[in-house]
């Protein structure tokens, strides 16, 4: 059922981050997050050029069911946001790890990654939340 790619890092609040070859990091929300939220209808993303701190609010996801804050897993300057989500917020449901990405940052401090969960630890966190 669950879909937690091994190559990503996670926050227990269900955000994922993928470090790209060029030292940038892409952020989104997990399969579990979208499954809990149900159909996503709006995504509010940070502004390009803004500076995010790890653990800080970076945006909001609204589904038919609820509104949920997005927390940034890492610090850095926002380089790009997924503008397709304006027209097609359903990408967050249909393809949360690829087309449903939220924003890319220039990693300010790679050691941020050490504070994040790996796939196994995130799976355990989800399991704990279920019970």
């Amino acid at each position: 059922m669950s879909n937690i790619p091994a190559e990503l890092k996670y926050l227990s609040s269900h955000e994922w981050v993928r470090v790209e070859h060029d030292g940038t990091a892409t952020v989104g929300i997990t399969y579990n997050a979208q499954d809990l939220l149900g159909d996503v209808v709006f995504v509010e993303l940070p502004e390009v050029g803004s500076e995010l701190n790890a653990g800080e609010e970076a945006g909001v996801v609204e589904s038919v069911k609820a509104a949920s804050d997005i927390f940034s897993p890492v610090s850095g300057e926002v380089l790009e946001i997924n503008e397709n989500l304006e027209e097609s917020p359903d990408f967050v449901n249909s393809d949360p790890y690829n087309e449903g990405w939220f924003y890319k940052v220039k990693l300010a401090d790679e050691s941020d990654l050490d504070d994040l969960l790996d796939a196994e630890a995130y799976a355990a966190a989800c399991e704990a939340e279920d019970h």
């Binding site: 149900g38 159909d39 209808v41 709006f42 509010e44 609204e62 038919v64 069911k65 609820a66 359903d90």
Partner: protein, 361 residues
């Protein structure tokens, strides 16, 4: 573990996400609530509504009893099968429940909410003192709502024979029996369609036949967005025992005439009316980004505050709608506190959507 309808296994088998709904394990959706919503507006969908409570009423005093029990007047029902929507009020005029009552060949049939079942039955029994009536619950009847522009044709094709003929002859808000089934042209979506009461043992087959005919399984999530677009109240959210029908967009369901009909709550409603009704239930529209949600605070400049009673994203309109209880003098706009910020929204008269189209001004 909650109560399970006769269709529970069918829901699980086709991927229904099960949640607790008033003590019942019901499907909230089967994958996408939005798709299920759209299919009802554009084609046809079906909902398991077997959790609703069906009560038959018989006896010499059945009519007099209902004329006392309900704010609407069953004397309006002249044709067999004709249905009436009414509030059942307490002495203070608060809504104990909203229900549909059908005039049956013998007596009446009432359909009440599942979440209020116990208190409804207790209240109905208590008020029966002095009336020659019997109340019998019909838990062996399941209920399936088939809704959407193609719903009636699909249901007729599946059922065939006498049942199809009966459906062809049904007026809006009428229900007739056949073979232990009851075929009703009613619904909670703002589309044409049927609510069909089916003996429990036959309902799984009926559901599979509808599915084979292309009727989509839809969960309670879509049912809620559809009813809200249609401007229909949800008991427990939009009204309850502390709210009178005059404050819940249900003034049209209060039959004041004949003036000598004494129904429970009448005295309180007359006093409220004479005093001026203090609040009203209105529609709110937010065409910008964001979703209005139940319990958000409404601010009306110069008049005071109110509260959203139901709010959602409207899949048909592509933006958020809500109903809110606000001060009676509220005009064309007000503000809603959303995520700590005040957002201006438009005040409209529900419904928002009927038969697939935007209808509010």
């Amino acid at each position: 573990m909650g109560n399970k309808t006769a269709l529970y296994e069918a829901h699980v088998a086709c991927g229904g996400k099960i949640v607790d709904f008033g003590g019942w394990d019901m499907p909230i959706h089967y994958g996408s609530q939005l798709e299920e919503h759209h299919v009802v507006r554009k084609a046809s969908g079906m909902f398991d509504v077997s959790h609703m409570t069906i009560v038959d009423l018989e006896g010499d005093d059945a009519k007099a009893y209902l004329q006392y029990l309900l704010a609407n007047d069953v004397n309006k029902l002249k044709e067999i099968g004709k249905a009436l929507y009414s509030g059942m009020l307490n002495e203070k005029g608060g809504v104990i429940d909203d229900l549909i009552v059908y005039l049956m060949p013998v007596g009446y049939r009432l359909v009440v909410n599942c979440g209020t079942r116990e208190k409804d039955l207790a209240w109905m029994q208590k008020q029966a003192d002095g009336f020659n009536i019997t109340l019998s619950e019909r838990p062996e009847l399941a209920m399936v709502a088939v809704q959407g522009p193609e719903a009636i044709e699909k249901a007729k094709a599946v059922l065939g024979g006498e049942k199809a003929d009966i459906i062809s002859g049904l007026n809006v808000f009428q229900g007739l029996e056949s073979d232990g089934w009851m075929l009703c042209r009613t619904g909670y979506t703002g589309e044409d369609g049927l609510e069909i009461m089916v003996p429990e043992k036959e309902v799984a087959d009926f559901w599979q036949q509808l599915k084979a005919a292309g009727v989509a399984s839809c969960g309670l999530g879509a049912r809620d967005t559809l009813r809200l677009e249609a401007g229909m109240n949800l008991y427990g959210s939009d009204m309850d025992e502390s709210i009178s029908p005059l404050q819940a967009n249900m003034a049209w369901t209060v039959a004041w005439e004949p003036a000598d009909r004494n129904f429970i709550g009448r005295v309180a409603l007359e006093a409220e009316k004479a005093d001026g009704v203090k609040t009203k239930l209105v529609g709110l529209v937010l065409e910008e980004r964001g979703v209005l949600r139940g319990h958000q605070k409404v601010v009306v400049e110069g008049l005071g505050e109110g509260e959203i009673t139901s709010g959602t994203f409207s899949p048909t309109l592509g933006y958020s709608i809500a109903v809110a209880r606000v001060p009676a003098g509220t005009g064309d706009t007000c503000s809603v506190e959303m995520r700590k910020k005040l957002q201006t929204v438009q005040v409209v008269k529900p419904p928002f959507v009927r038969n697939g189209k935007r209808v509010y001004k």
